[in-house]
């Protein structure tokens, strides 16, 4: 699970936007020691030892695209879980992710339209989108309990990574006060999603351990 949880951090770190995220001390040290030019987005298969670039602060237009991509990735993962999972708790989590992240995206699009900000792709928005596609491909190959555990593990890892980016990169970089307020306003929702996913993750781990003990 440690490797799985690390995959989103690695993926986003490859896009150069996790330098100050919690739990990324090694990256901070590398970034301080050897600032590198911007790199292209890499998938979750990127080696942990990849050099860390010093990321420029994203513009409001780039933040808009990052927010849309981040929400869309989780909507698509949730839709996949609703197709594949039969576990009531997992389906409830997936349904909640689809509903909430769709609502956040709708509000974000309304806001940037009103502010006349045109979303602009960046390394991070592209890393989110490609990382999400890679993860869905992995999940697509799993079934039953294995799918449920992998989906929920990914929800935990993804929300941890996105919350880190939100708090340390997007909120500080946002220039327009309304955009900044919106980003601050969605943080509690992401925190609640993370807690919800962790609760289910713990339940699935407990059920797995009990099943393992019951086996002869």
């Amino acid at each position: 699970m440690g490797m799985k949880n690390a995959s989103w951090r690695i993926s986003l770190a490859a896009a150069g936007l996790l330098a100050a995220a919690p739990g990324c001390k090694q990256r901070e040290e590398r970034a301080a020691a050897a600032p590198a030019p911007a790199v292209t987005a890499e998938s979750s298969a990127a080696p942990p030892s990849a050099p860390a670039p010093a990321a420029p602060a994203p513009s409001d237009a780039q933040i808009a695209a990052i927010v849309v991509a981040a929400n869309q990735v989780d909507v698509l993962a949730g839709q996949l879980a609703l197709e594949k999972s039969k576990n009531a708790q997992v389906r409830e989590l997936a349904d909640r992710m689809v509903t909430d992240h769709t609502a956040v995206n709708k509000a974000a699009v309304e806001l940037v339209t009103r502010l006349k900000v045109t979303p602009e792709e960046s390394d991070l928005s592209r890393a989110l989108t490609s990382g999400g596609a890679d993860k869905r491909s992995e999940l697509q190959r799993l079934d039953g309990d294995a799918f449920d555990r992998a989906y929920v593990d990914n929800e935990v890892a993804y929300h941890e990574a996105v919350i880190g980016v939100l708090k340390t990169q997007l909120v500080p970089a946002a220039q327009h006060p309304e955009l900044k307020d919106t980003l601050v306003g969605v943080q509690p929702a992401f925190d609640a999603h993370l807690q919800h996913a962790r609760m289910i993750q713990a339940g699935l781990a407990g059920a797995g351990a009990a099943a393992g003990e019951a086996r002869p």
């Binding site: 509903t99 609502a103 943080q187 929702a189 925190d191």
Partner: protein, 112 residues
Amino acid sequence: MRAPALGLLLALSCALAPAGCAARPQPRTHHVEIRQMRFVPAQLDVAVGDTVVWTNHDVMPHTATTAPSSSERFDSRSIEGRGTWSFTVATAGEHPYVCTFHPTMQGRLTAR
């Protein structure tokens, strides 16, 4: 002629009522904001007969639904973003409630 007669009748009914008309407070309306995944205020003191209005300021839907331990029963079902829902308290006691969509969101009405 009719108005003074009505006033006299009301005065008589008040005088005959042991508790007195003035002693019974008018039902009030209380407001709970749903904002950034929290009920604000999370704890609210109300009287039986008061109405509570929940207003959802978040972009995602929420519910206000009594927990199993509550002696009152209410369930807003989904309150969409910018939506409201109201409930008139009928039972005294402690009424803990949650958002069924987001289990970390919890509130409580204390009704006297």
